[in-house]
């Protein structure tokens, strides 16, 4: 029962990724070649909305969330190399096959076998990272 709010949020997220075509390989190529404002409009308005929403929630820090735990804004763990280098590796994949993780899940739901293969690759890539992470600069 406690999962229901998250599942509903996920449905809205997945539906939006599909209907906005952020889950489209075509839109991603168009974005990386600066041929349309569409994807940039999505990113900019999403960050602005998230910023306003998170600022509003700073007033509520310490109050109970729906689940009861006090509201806090989670912070990213420190690190110098992992963020740009990991981002670079991910970006190389994203620019080629045009799917980032949200769209992978959404397209799998839409029945795309190709996206299921990408998901299989992503799980293996995740395992590979787990196997070598202690040798990588953090």
């Amino acid at each position: 029962m406690r999962l229901i709010p998250y599942v509903i949020a996920g449905i809205v997220f997945g539906f939006t990724l599909m209907k906005s075509e952020a889950a489209s390989w075509y839109r991603i190529q168009e974005m990386f070649h600066f041929q349309a404002f569409h994807m940039y409009g999505i990113m900019i308005s999403a960050v602005l909305t998230g910023f306003i929403g998170a600022q509003a929630f700073r007033l509520l820090v310490g109050r109970p969330s729906l689940e009861g735990a006090p509201i806090a804004i989670p912070r990213k763990t420190p690190g110098r190399f992992r963020y740009p280098l990991g981002g670079l590796v991910f970006g190389l994949g994203w620019g080629a096959i045009g799917l980032c993780p949200g769209p992978i899940f959404a397209l799998v739901g839409s029945g795309s076998l190709g996206a299921a293969v990408v998901l299989g690759g992503a799980l293996h890539g995740t395992w590979l990272y787990g196997a070598v992470e202690r040798y990588l600069p953090s």
Partner: protein
């Protein structure tokens, strides 16, 4: 009314909906909006407990909320792509259409090109390899477009800015130097 669910959505509807996930997740359970950590949980679930990589030996049950969110994303993809699919192809700008046709890709209905996503041996290898980069990279950077570009930037976390620069740089390299030869 139904038409609004069938046709593609403009950026000014989609962006605020996606961005609202940040305060929504804070409100539900003080969570950080993101999806790629589920890749880690899925490996942790399937890895046999006695053997395997230490990195995945943690209690994934504490992250059931995140798996629930990913399950919802799959369901949302089903609703949008199967129940109310857009019957038309993605309305690219003329310059983008000319570009991808020049690369040898075509556009049918659907969000991905058949030249890359129809299952052939070559495409299986290509899609799997691309997925490996996405999985490895998002775990190394501990986040993807959702967790870094949206949650991280909107909560002003400097690490996320570096991640986004890496992501965009990698995407530019691949899209300009690699993808044109993948049809």
């Amino acid at each position: 009314m139904l038409d609004a669910f069938v046709s593609p959505w403009p950026w000014y509807l989609a962006g605020p909906l996606i961005g609202s996930m940040v305060p929504l997740m804070l409100w539900i359970g003080s969570r950080s909006f993101g999806i790629s950590q589920n890749l880690e949980h899925m490996v942790a679930i399937t890895q046999p407990s006695m053997i395997g990589v230490h990195f995945f030996k943690y209690d994934w049950r504490a992250s059931r909320w995140s798996l629930g969110f990913a399950g919802g994303t799959v369901l949302g993809g089903f609703l949008a792509g199967v129940v109310v699919p857009n019957p038309e192809s993605v309305a690219l700008t003329e310059s983008a259409r000319t570009m991808i046709e020049g690369w040898g890709f075509t556009q049918g209905i659907g969000l991905v090109p058949p030249e890359m996503f129809d299952l052939s041996l070559r495409n299986l290898l290509l899609l799997f390899a691309g997925g490996v980069l996405v999985g490895f990279g998002t775990r190394y950077a501990s986040g993807c477009t959702s967790g870094h570009a949206i949650t991280g930037l909107s909560t002003l976390q400097p690490q996320s800015l570096f991640a986004v620069l890496g992501i965009f740089g990698g995407g530019m390299l691949a899209s300009h130097l690699l993808t044109p030869f993948l049809a």
